[in-house]
């Protein structure tokens, strides 16, 4: 290390170097993938927090250079970081590995179900009470305007029926007990040694000095309820609807569109 390795690693993950040779390249690409990409895209690239790279639809160009650009530059407005320090050889191997996964013509596989019916399920289940699509809904939970391009359908499914399985850091809940006996729960927007800032369900901030608090608790459970009793058909339609959300609903969503995997 020499500077600040954790921070450096987050911004510019380091890559192993590797030798030439096609099959070897795929293997080395796999090793690169496992240590750098699998965390979000899944060990076998089937998706997770990040989209599946086997069935992803490449809407803004599908050449190797396009994919390399995504890796190097990241996708602004999403959790895809920029891997700008990756060596050229390693980038080639990663792309070869990604190509190897889906063949040279990666095709988007749509989710079965009736997206229009799913939209109605979304409406009557109260999802908009916490989530936002385009300009409508609440900022309390994750914005779903382009959830179909950013998340695999398996991940979305899990998020609906078992939301506590993976809670993104920016939506972690926190419960505060004030010295005057109040209990307040919200999304933790920021926190440091002496202060904590929450977003509440009513879309307001709650801002505290910790000296005003008796206790700060981090629940392991997601703030989102688990929709386990949703009828299977409704769930499938809802998944089809969410999968169809690709950020094209409003000009606001367009503004965050960048070229790359959508």
């Amino acid at each position: 290390m020499k500077l600040l390795p954790v921070a450096v690693a987050l911004l510019f993950p380091f890559f192993i170097s590797a030798q030439n040779g096609s099959e070897q390249d795929v293997e080395q690409g796999r090793a690169l993938f496992r240590s750098n990409c699998a965390f979000c895209h899944g060990l076998t690239a089937g998706g997770g927090r990040g989209p599946s790279l086997i069935s992803a639809k490449l809407v803004r160009g599908s050449t190797n250079d396009d994919i390399k650009n995504i890796i190097r530059s990241g996708v602004p407005g999403t959790s895809m970081p920029s891997f700008e320090n990756i060596e050229k050889d390693d980038l080639d191997k990663l792309v070869r590995y990604i190509r190897h996964l889906g063949g040279s013509n990666v095709i988007s596989v749509p989710v079965n179900g009736d997206a229009d019916a799913g939209k109605r399920v979304y409406g009557r289940s109260g999802c908009a009470g916490c989530h936002r699509i385009g300009d409508e809904g609440s900022n309390f939970g994750p914005d779903l305007s382009r959830v179909g391009s950013g998340r695999s359908s398996d991940y979305i499914h899990q998020s609906i029926v078992e939301p506590s399985a993976d809670i993104p850091a920016e939506y972690e809940g926190v419960t505060l007990f004030t010295k005057d006996g109040k209990k307040i729960t919200g999304v933790r927007v920021n926190e440091d040694t002496f202060t904590v800032q929450l977003r509440l369900g009513n879309d307001r901030f709650a801002l505290f000095n910790k000296s005003e608090l008796k206790e700060v608790i981090y629940p392991k459970q997601s703030l989102m309820p688990a929709y386990k009793t949703l009828p299977a058909k409704d769930l499938q339609n809802l998944l089809a609807y969410l999968d169809s959300l690709r950020g094209q609903q409003t000009s606001g969503a367009d503004a965050i569109k960048t070229k790359g995997i959508k």
């Binding site: 954790v6 380091f14 192993i16």
Partner: protein, 526 residues
């Protein structure tokens, strides 16, 4: 008017005093000054100043601020010599200021040859006579006139090859020599410590931290792996004038995470080496982490203390190591006296009676990743600890954070990093940290003030009963040295990544902390 003129004359003559080698040896007799990077040769970072103390520190406020215009990590620790402050910033900048007002006296900007993208941080200066010494990111040592900032000489530590050697530390002056070390532990270098003649810039000696085949210790490396074995010497050492011994922490072996290509103990990586500063000859060494594969270098401060050890006074060198153990060694002989964990660690069952770790299973980096605490950045790091002779406690920044370590065979390409795979912070528990007060005679924690995040800022101790330190969210804080109670804080607006220092000019005590691109200096209201 006449009186004012006389006063100015007195100040002028004061600032014209030469900083002799003798003054450096006796730096602690000049409590108003801060003559070396660590404040003195022993690196206790304690000042017998008490104008700012536990009862009035709540009134401490920003007195002046100097903006360098630089961005990035500001890791310097200023010197203060008779009312003038000297410090460095990234991009080869050195600055002299009026330490009372922050007004600039001069600024030096190193002229890098075109095309050199040399952006490493810089940690500060050394002074001798009327000369200042700094290193540059492209591995040069530069001597400057203290009065003007004009360059006197420049000496190359290593040829510039992008992605290999670089330099970032504050030099250490001993007698007539300027002692520096090289950085580049991840870049397949072979580390060294150099001494240069302060007058001429000629190299007086070089000590390679990594011995080759046929040299003592060379058999602790597989094949010719020592040629690229790392072991940078990227932080400033300490010095005992009585023993004439130089103490220097050596960095990690390379490749960092993949140890199979360099089987063996890999001396003198992750070791304390003790040198004769006149010749650069090794007196003794102690290796904290043999065959390290977690980047736990030994660059942390080797602090020199005279303490009661089992009822008798003993000269010791102590180090809170990145591997989460606090070590006490005899400073004269190198005898291992004690090693105790000061933070959570999941890699060593214990240390044997020579101080060698007995490893736990499944702690090596591998292709699927192994979770180990502390993480790669260590349970502490280069940020300075301090020691208060009144409380007899050692104060350090502790990082509680774990990583998953991966390994894969790297290919050696000059100019490319040589990690041997990657590391990633765990996501199922939050990092945290603390300011911790340890009894160096027992290794026991006396108190700890918990931080929300793992810190990167060091500590300062004063006779005002205070410990100053900073956290990762930008708070500069003052604590009661005896109890750990937080007495004062200010949010400086960005993460703090160096150590505070204090000085006195014109009867007024100041506390300085670099933050962002600014030097922030605090004092009590007048």
């Amino acid at each position: 008017m006449r009186r004012l003129a006389l006063g100015l004359l007195a100040l002028a003559s004061l600032s014209a005093q030469q900083v002799t080698s003798d003054r450096l040896v006796n730096a602690l007799k000049e409590q108003q000054n801060w003559l070396t990077y660590w404040g003195d040769y022993s690196a206790i970072r304690h000042r017998d100043l008490k104008q700012i103390n536990t009862s009035n520190v709540r009134n401490l406020r920003l007195d002046w601020m100097y903006q360098t215009g630089e961005t990035g990590a500001f890791e310097t620790v200023p010197l203060v010599v008779d009312g003038v402050m000297y410090f460095t910033a990234a991009h080869g900048i050195a600055v002299a200021l009026d330490a009372r007002s922050g007004r600039q006296l001069w600024q030096y900007k190193h002229a890098f040859p075109s095309g050199r993208n040399a952006t490493a941080v810089n940690r500060g200066l050394a002074i001798l006579g009327d000369r200042l010494f700094m290193v540059t990111a492209d591995s040069n040592v530069v001597a400057l006139e203290a009065k003007t900032g004009r360059k006197i000489w420049q000496a190359e530590m290593a040829p510039w090859v992008p992605g290999t050697h670089y330099a970032s530390l504050a030099p250490l002056v001993i007698k007539d020599k300027v002692i520096v070390g090289i950085s580049g532990g991840e870049q397949a270098v072979r580390g060294f410590i150099d001494a240069y003649d302060a007058k001429t810039g000629e190299r007086a000696w070089r000590f390679y931290t990594i011995p080759l085949k046929g040299e003592p210790g060379g058999d602790t490396w597989l094949g010719d792996s020592a040629q690229h074995g790392g072991g940078p010497a990227w932080m400033t050492g300490t010095y005992d004038p009585q023993l004439n011994s130089l103490y220097w922490g050596v960095g990690n072996p390379g490749p960092d995470l993949f140890g199979d290509v360099r089987k063996g103990d890999n001396l003198y990586s992750c070791s304390l080496v003790v040198l004769d500063p006149d010749t650069g000859k090794l007196k003794w060494h102690f290796q904290f982490t043999p065959h390290d594969t977690h980047d736990w270098d030994a660059a942390e401060t080797p602090m020199l203390l005279d303490i009661d050890w089992k009822g008798k006074p003993r000269k010791v060198v102590v180090q809170a190591n990145r591997n989460a153990f606090f070590y006490v060694l005899d400073r004269e002989t190198g005898e291992f006296l004690m090693g105790k964990p000061f933070a959570r660690q999941t890699w060593a069952k214990e240390l044997d009676n020579k101080g060698r770790p007995i490893l736990m299973a499944n702690t090596e980096p591998n292709t699927d990743g192994n979770r180990v605490c502390p993480g790669l950045a260590g349970a502490t790091n280069w940020m300075a600890p301090s020691y208060n002779p009144q409380t007899k406690l050692f104060y350090l920044a502790v990082r509680e954070q774990c990583d998953i370590f991966y390994a894969a065979p790297p290919v050696l390409i000059e100019g490319k990093s040589y990690w041997g795979s990657v590391f990633r912070g765990v996501t199922d528990e939050k990092e945290s940290g603390s300011l911790t007060a340890l009894d160096p005679a027992t290794g026991e924690t006396k108190w700890a003030f918990k931080y929300f995040k793992a810190p990167w800022a060091g500590t300062l101790s004063t006779a005002g009963g205070l410990i100053f330190s900073g956290d990762e969210d930008g708070y500069l804080m003052a604590f009661d040295a005896a109890t750990g109670e937080n007495l004062w804080k200010i949010n400086t607006g960005t993460r703090l990544v160096t150590s505070p220092m204090t000085y006195m000019v014109g009867g007024r005590q100041y506390v300085t902390m670099p933050s962002g691109g600014s030097i922030l200096t605090f004092a009590l209201p007048q």
